[in-house]
């Protein structure tokens, strides 16, 4: 009596793109179109902002002309360096703190106040210690990005269920095997969230520092263009930064989704 065709097919199964993705795309496109319209009709004055299409067009122009290639290369290099350093350092500190509960209890409350500190005020310190050039910029960016990796590492290690710890013991694994084969995979989704944030903060830290303190890089170029009333260049560069950030996020999010799908309830 129990039905063997328990579900009713309404339409063939569709692949990847979910409804939410579709709605989001529509929202973004509509928004951009709206801004474009407001710019073209002059509701948003030309002196305030140029139309998105003009931004994109000029961006393509400067990329082709190679005007800012050096700055772009400098910034990207700094960001990659800062991201890698902060992930490794943050993970190491997180692991250390996790195994020292007293130290952790003392430091954790201070961590969220950390972001209020304008860390680039320590730029002069870094210049003295590290010399002028890319190193102080990277150091400031690392300072900004490392905390989120520490927090995520602590969180990830916390969330490894006790039953997994016990399984590792019962299976008589060595500490290294236990860490690599059980703990790391279990904590990986949370660690990856930390990595995403670290990359984002590394990006922000580098660009912001270049804007305020440096003589080269994308951040500096934007500031220079602003100060010299070169609006088109400025917006083209801002557009480029937006595109880069979005692209990086999309890649990281795809990886994240694969990791999360494993543990979907």
């Amino acid at each position: 009596m129990a039905a063997d065709t328990a579900s009713v097919r309404v339409s063939p199964r569709r692949p990847r793109l979910s409804r939410a993705d579709g709605v989001r795309l529509t929202v973004v496109v509509v928004f951009i179109a709206l801004v474009e319209l407001l710019c073209r009709t002059g509701v948003i004055a030309l002196s305030v902002m140029i139309a998105p299409s003009a931004m994109a067009a000029h961006c393509v122009q400067i990329l082709r002309a190679g005007t800012f290639d050096h700055d772009i290369a400098v910034s990207l290099g700094n960001i990659v360096a800062a991201a890698i350093l902060s992930v490794l350092l943050g993970f190491a500190v997180g692991v250390l703190l996790h195994s020292a509960p007293r130290a952790r209890a003392a430091i954790e409350p201070l961590l969220s106040a950390y972001y209020a500190v304008p860390t680039f005020v320590f730029y002069p310190v870094f210049i003295v210690i590290l010399g002028v050039g890319a190193a102080p910029i990277i150091a400031i960016a690392v300072l900004l990005a490392v905390v989120s990796m520490v927090t995520a590492t602590l969180n990830g290690l916390d969330r490894i269920p006790r039953s997994l710890h016990k399984t590792a013991l019962v299976l008589r694994l060595s500490p290294l095997q236990s860490a690599l084969r059980i703990k790391l995979p279990a904590a990986l989704p949370y660690l990856f969230t930390g990595m995403k944030l670290s990359v984002a903060y590394a990006f922000i830290g580098v660009i912001a520092s270049e804007f305020i303190l440096s003589g080269e890089g994308l951040g500096y170029a934007i500031g220079y263009a602003y100060n010299n009333f070169q609006n088109r260049d400025m917006y083209a560069l801002m557009f480029l930064v937006l595109v880069l950030v979005t692209a990086i996020n999309m890649v990281l999010n795809t990886i994240d989704r694969r990791l999360q799908a494993r543990r979907r309830r």
Binding site: M1, A2, A3, A6, S7, V8, R9, V10, S11, P12, R13, R14, S18
Partner: protein, 288 residues
């Protein structure tokens, strides 16, 4: 005893006084009800329940048992107005159910006590939301605290209580509102066996005092057999009623009936039907 009745008995009394255990007057009715779900991420529909025809009689204690995933909770949601049937009709006290009707109380399996309020405030929550006068709230809550044995814990917070006590808080919260239909979705599922047996007795006590109609969802056969006037056995998904067993117990019953032969018979009959369905769910169906 009369003070108990005056505070907790529902205001509306049907003409047929609830002396006869099953007054045979329809209280809540499901008629040809089915429920389909849209599966997220695909376009197949998921046939969860039905078609179901079920009439709950005024003042009766009805339990539903069935294998996991058969749709028991969906059935309760439909009675409560928390879910709409895909087809068929639901009525309560003669009126069609749209949203949660007045006079219906629900107790969930998970602990639904609010961790940010103490026990007293938890119990009085529904009354306060309904705008009941402060003095009346206090009176009813005080009564419920005494009745449910929570008097010493009135100022405690749920985090300080055991699972069983938290469920008592949830039951008390439902009861102070004098519901005429009480729906319980595996309320003792998260509790240990001893607590379950004692809570079963308490539930019977409350049922008698309030004269409400009770629908209990449970996976424990002995619980259903002990507590109910009738037990409905559901098939595996999509859930259909394959048997409804009349237990024939007296209204004044408690857990001691488990030692009677009749209890064994009821249990055996329930298991006979349920066993086949449970095997199917586990993927171990033997040929019929």
């Amino acid at each position: 005893m009369s003070s108990v009745a005056s505070l907790i008995k529902p205001v509306a009394q049907s003409a047929a006084q609830p002396d006869a255990p099953a007054a045979r007057q329809a209280h809540a009715v499901l008629s040809n009800v089915t429920r389909y779900f849209d599966r997220t991420g695909s376009h197949e529909r998921f046939h969860a329940l039905g078609p179901i025809d079920l009439t709950l009689h005024q003042g009766e204690f009805f339990s539903v048992v069935g294998p996991s995933g058969c749709g028991k909770s969906t059935l309760l949601d439909i009675f409560a107005g928390l879910a709409e049937p895909t087809s068929g009709s639901v009525s309560f006290e003669g009126r069609e159910v749209k949203g949660v009707p007045d006079g219906v109380g629900v107790v969930f399996q998970e602990d639904a006590s609010f961790p940010w309020m103490n026990v007293r405030d938890n119990i009085g929550f529904g009354l306060r939301m309904a705008g009941t006068d402060g003095a009346e709230v206090k009176r009813r809550v005080d009564y419920a605290l005494g009745f449910m044995g929570l008097k010493d814990f009135a100022s405690a917070y749920p985090a300080q209580l055991s699972g069983g006590m938290r469920q008592r808080v949830c039951i008390a919260r439902t009861l102070v509102q004098q519901p005429r239909l009480i729906l319980l979705d595996e309320p003792f599922g998260a509790l240990d066996q001893q607590t379950r047996l004692l809570m079963g007795d308490e539930l019977l006590r409350l049922w008698r005092e309030t004269s409400a109609t009770v629908l209990l969802i449970t996976h424990a056969l002995d619980e259903a057999a002990m507590l109910s006037d009738r037990v409905g056995v559901m098939s595996s998904r999509p859930g259909l009623f394959i048997d409804i067993v009349e237990t024939g117990w007296e209204r004044e019953r408690d857990s001691r009936i488990v030692s009677t032969p009749r209890f064994g018979e009821v249990n055996a009959r329930l298991w006979e039907k349920l066993r086949v369905e449970s095997l199917k769910v586990m993927g171990l169906a033997d040929g019929r």
